[in-house]
């Protein structure tokens, strides 16, 4: 994975973001959605930090922002995406 520029790492993501605990809580459904394995219609997660924007995008934007800002959660997301993709492949 390419490392973001120093300035971006210092300033972090601008949009509202989930915390690490919520990231872990909803990471599985985010990954399955990325893989096209959505079992159900898109719905907001209980920790949603931007209901209007997420509803419009039909995507968890708070999760996306957190994964840009938190290197550890981003690593775990990349691993789960790779593993779940392989398991279903």
């Amino acid at each position: 994975m390419n490392e973001p520029p120093t300035g971006d790492r210092l300033l972090g993501p601008e949009p509202p973001e989930l915390g690490c605990d919520e990231c872990f809580e909803y990471l599985d459904r985010y990954v399955d959605a990325e893989l096209g394995h959505e079992l159900h219609e898109f719905s907001l997660c209980p920790a949603c930090v931007g209901p209007e924007d997420c509803s419009r995008a039909r995507r968890c934007l708070g999760m996306r922002a957190h994964l840009e800002g938190c290197p550890a959660c981003a690593e775990e997301h990349a691993s789960l995406l790779a593993l779940a993709g392989r398991e279903s492949g």
């Binding site: 210092l10 300033l11 872990f24 990954v31 219609e41 907001l44 800002g69 550890a72």
Partner: protein
């Protein structure tokens, strides 16, 4: 931690019905007493595979770990993941496939153990003034980025507390893993990230005021 920012009330859907594979996993794992042993063993085998997968992805950082010790790390991660998962099983809503939900526990446990192992003999020095080491990044950057970095350095000096500077520098400049830092400071990953988030928000607000006072 409930989000990094206060969350407005979100309209959430009721739990959807489980897909057939997930339903079979949950049914097997919630059987009484010894009747669930086969399913628990099958789940442990799956978690172990996920933990080994995660450790294999980190083989560069773990190249000095003897093979037997590496596999022991995977077994420990699978064991811890199994305990955490069984405790959380009543909360599984079926928002994802059961296997994706289960694998995240093993990946978390394995990655935390791997990061701790890689940093166990490394000193984490918390220096609030270490942001002054931005100079090489400024020198290497193009003129526009160098100007931005100089503005960020000034904002770090002017608007962050010493603790916020320590956390920001450790994670964003020195690449200290957040859970290693949480261990050393005897706090949680969520609390560290909240400090990092607040520091970044202060920096952005300060920079915005500089541009548009």
């Amino acid at each position: 931690m409930r989000g990094v920012e206060p969350a407005p009330a979100a309209a959430t859907a009721p739990p959807p019905p489980l897909d057939p594979d997930s339903r079979a996993w949950v049914r097997g794992l919630t059987l009484p007493g010894g009747e669930r042993d086969v399913d628990v063993a099958r789940l442990h085998a799956f978690l172990l595979r996920a933990a080994r997968f995660e450790l294999a992805r980190r083989r560069t950082a773990l190249r000095d770990v003897p093979a037997a010790e590496l596999d022991d790390l995977a077994v420990q991660a699978a064991n811890d993941a199994l305990v955490a998962l069984m405790r959380k099983l009543p909360t599984f809503r079926g928002d994802s496939r059961f296997t994706t939900w289960a694998a995240k526990f093993a990946i978390l446990e394995a990655s935390v153990k791997a990061r701790r192992w890689a940093w166990q003999h490394r000193e984490v020095t918390l220096e609030p003034e270490a942001w002054t080491r931005l100079a090489p990044a400024v020198a290497a950057a193009d003129p526009e980025e160098a100007e931005r970095l100089r503005a960020i350095a000034a904002a770090i000096r002017e608007c962050l507390s010493p603790h916020q500077r320590e956390i920001l520098v450790a994670i964003a400049l020195n690449d200290v893993p957040i859970d290693v830092l949480a261990d050393r400071l005897q706090t949680t990953r969520g609390a560290i990230y909240k400090t990092l988030h607040d520091a970044r928000r202060n920096l952005r607000a300060h920079l915005a005021r500089e541009v548009d006072p």
